[in-house]
């Protein structure tokens, strides 16, 4: 397997609010390998965005990475870096793209200048070299007439084109990790398909490792090598894409997969997860999903489940995998997935 480029251990992030301490990320552990795409999937409030913002050191000022958290990037402990050192990592080694390309771009600066900014800062090129590189990047992300486009402003681009520009900026310093936080959520499906293809294509060309954050399981299936499923600030299941989609083990993963209609789902009612996610001001004891799960055991309400190993790459935090756990029957959609393993 490829080398580990990032190792996150027991990452915990909390925010001070009027109501008290919100435990947004409650101890997550995962690795990222060179050149792979890891998708982090979860609902709003699951902590997926906060976790990745912590990697870049850009959590809001009332937020704090708790001690005992570790983010190791190429031997460097990110949680220990000061702002100057972080600034060198940001943009250069780890770059990020966001959901809304309009708010990531400066509306009163030409896109050419915006692309050149990072190149001049991090790579020490002079203006004309940076200009040349910027034009190459505009071309690389699939925009015609790069010379002309270089001088234009963000409002002269469509949503999909703006996201291409943001990707060009993110890739301008040849980062080792690209964090994409819901990069296609604001786009139409046909444009989304183009952007997903572009990201995969650029990854093949540059070898950048991608952390792809999304709530859309279809997008996950399209881009991910591995998938981490987050719920209530924790990773509940992690594995290769095939393992998570065809051999899911955590009842929350079951619920997510079963509640999406496939193109063959017909008249029967959709499987739906009752209730809504817990309040992270007072996270529940034990398995946070137990309150909404028809498969919850007594122990789920008392003790947090550890990760159980299913294969070398597949882990799930559910007591159902304990050797003494009773056998349960998952939703029919999931039984079908298990049996067929996809077609």
């Amino acid at each position: 397997m490829a080398k580990k480029i990032l190792q996150v251990k027991n990452l915990q992030v909390s925010f001070e609010t009027h109501g008290g301490e919100v435990q947004a990320v409650r101890g997550i552990t995962f690795d990222l390998h060179e050149g792979e795409t890891l998708a982090i999937v979860g609902e709003s409030g699951s902590g997926k965005s906060v976790a990745t913002k912590a990697l870049m050191g850009i959590i809001a000022s009332n937020g704090q990475i708790k001690k005992d958290s570790s983010i190791l990037f190429e031997e460097k402990e990110i949680t220990q870096l000061n702002e100057d050192e972080l600034q060198k990592v940001r943009g250069k080694d780890i770059a990020m793209i966001f959901q809304d390309p309009m708010t990531s771009l400066n509306p009163v600066m030409t896109i050419g200048k915006q692309i050149m900014e990072g190149i001049i800062k991090h790579q020490g090129l002079n203006r004309s070299e940076a200009r040349q590189k910027a034009i190459e990047l505009i071309e690389l992300v699939g925009i015609d007439q790069p010379d002309k486009r270089f001088k234009q402003y963000p409002h002269q681009f469509s949503g999909g084109m703006r996201q291409r520009i943001v990707i060009a900026i993110a890739l301008s310093c040849n980062p080792k990790i690209l964090i994409a936080d819901e990069p296609t959520t604001a786009l139409d499906v046909t444009i989304q398909a183009q952007i997903l293809e572009l990201i995969k294509d650029l990854q093949a060309k540059t070898g950048v490792a991608v952390i792809f954050i999304t709530h859309d399981l279809g997008v996950v299936a399209n881009v991910a090598d591995r998938v981490a499923v987050m719920y209530a600030g924790k990773i509940v299941e992690i594995g290769t894409s095939d393992e998570v989609f065809y051999q899911p083990q955590h009842p929350y993963t079951w619920g997510l997969l079963a509640s999406m209609p496939s193109l063959d789902t017909d008249d029967e009612a959709l499987y739906s997860i009752p209730g809504s996610p817990p309040d992270l001001l007072n996270p529940p004891v034990g398995d946070a999903f137990a309150l909404r799960s028809q498969y919850a055991l007594k122990i789920d309400h008392e003790q947090e489940p550890p990760f159980f190993k299913i294969t070398d790459t597949h882990y799930a935090a559910t007591w159902l995998l304990h050797e003494n756990a009773p056998k349960v029957t998952p939703p029919s959609v999931i039984q079908k997935l298990w049996a067929e393993g996809g077609k």
């Binding site: 709530h215 859309d216 299936a221 997969l257 496939s262 017909d266 997860i273 809504s276």
Partner: protein, 315 residues
């Protein structure tokens, strides 16, 4: 029940909705569309942003005055200026559910008053007690509790707010509901709850839905028939199974090929089909709207329609 036996509840004929931007430019948001919706069905309207799907819904429910064309609802023409009593009767029968339950609920009103607003307007409650009982009943119908009546919208989650929006729409017992992206703002696990609720209400109350959305897999699941819109035109209408398994119009094909499905192996095999509008030679050959098979409508020029016919026979 076969298509021709079904009772038409809504008919849209050559509807155009233009918006004038300035002296020179006009946006043709909806540009000559025609369709019928049958009583008791869910009619899906899909398209990308700017396709005109929401404008269509808003024009039908009289939020806009259509530029031209006709809208007939339960045998009455409704796009024209209606008398006060007719307008009120129309408003009682047709309701709307919006995408953003945050923006569509008045944050300074209690849930009770939000839900009962229609009841008040149409004088449907005989007493204060009756009004409150109706609200309780509605809250329970949409899966909320009586205690929620006294709270304000901000005290609820997105999914719960959407349930309040549905309860408000149901309060005056409409027969037709326009749902404009009702689940797009909700999380996956909550979407299924709301869709199941809408389906259950449809069965129990014999409702008819116009379901407007961009999420094609959800539209396929919830709809009996689906219309695909692109740049102000409907390009294809078909029963949802037929549309998804045997699409004819190149735009429909392109749109279907772009939906990512939660199945990695399908995704690895996926071939995306692009759509190039310049393949249509409509300047030389005038396009028309034709029922190519029973219940399957398509927009195209004569030579294109010939090609579609050949393609259908090959299937």
């Amino acid at each position: 029940m076969s298509v021709e036996e079904r009772e038409v509840i809504l008919e849209v004929k050559h509807l155009k909705q233009y918006f004038r931007l300035d002296k020179r430019s006009v946006v043709k948001a909806v540009d000559d569309i025609s369709f019928e919706i049958y009583k008791g069905e869910t009619f899906g309207l899909v398209g990308e942003s700017g396709s005109g799907k929401s404008t269509t819904g808003r024009a039908i429910i009289k939020l806009y005055q259509p530029t031209s064309g006709e809208v007939w609802f339960e045998g009455q023409r409704v796009d024209t200026k209606l008398s006060h009593s007719k307008k009120k009767a129309f408003n009682k029968k047709m309701q709307m559910i919006f995408q953003d339950p945050q923006a569509s609920l008045n944050g300074r009103m209690k849930v009770e008053d939000i839900i009962a607003e229609g009841i008040d307007v149409h004088n449907l409650a005989t007493s204060k007690k009756d009004r409150l009982n109706k609200v309780f009943e509605l809250l329970e119908t949409v899966g909320l509790n009586r205690e929620h009546a006294n709270r304000y919208p901000h005290e609820f989650s997105g999914g719960q707010r959407q349930r309040i929006g549905i309860a408000r729409a149901l309060a005056i017992e409409p027969s037709f509901i326009i749902a404009d992206e009702p689940i797009s703002a909700l999380d996956v696990s909550i979407q299924a709850q709301v869709v199941n609720l809408m389906n259950q209400l449809k069965k129990e109350r014999g409702l008819t839905y116009l379901f407007i959305a961009h999420d094609l897999s959800m539209v396929k699941y919830i709809s009996d028939r689906v219309a695909v819109m692109n740049k102000g035109k409907i390009v294809e209408i078909a029963p949802s199974d037929e549309l998804y398994h045997a699409p004819l119009h190149p735009y429909t094909k392109s749109l279907l090929s772009a939906i990512p499905l939660p199945d990695p192996r399908t995704e690895r095999r996926r071939k995306r089909i692009g759509y190039d509008p310049s393949i249509h030679n409509y300047s030389q050959e005038k396009p028309k709207w034709l029922e190519i098979r029973k219940g399957h409508w398509i927009y195209g020029s004569d030579s294109e329609l010939n090609d579609y016919e050949v393609e259908l026979q090959g299937k």
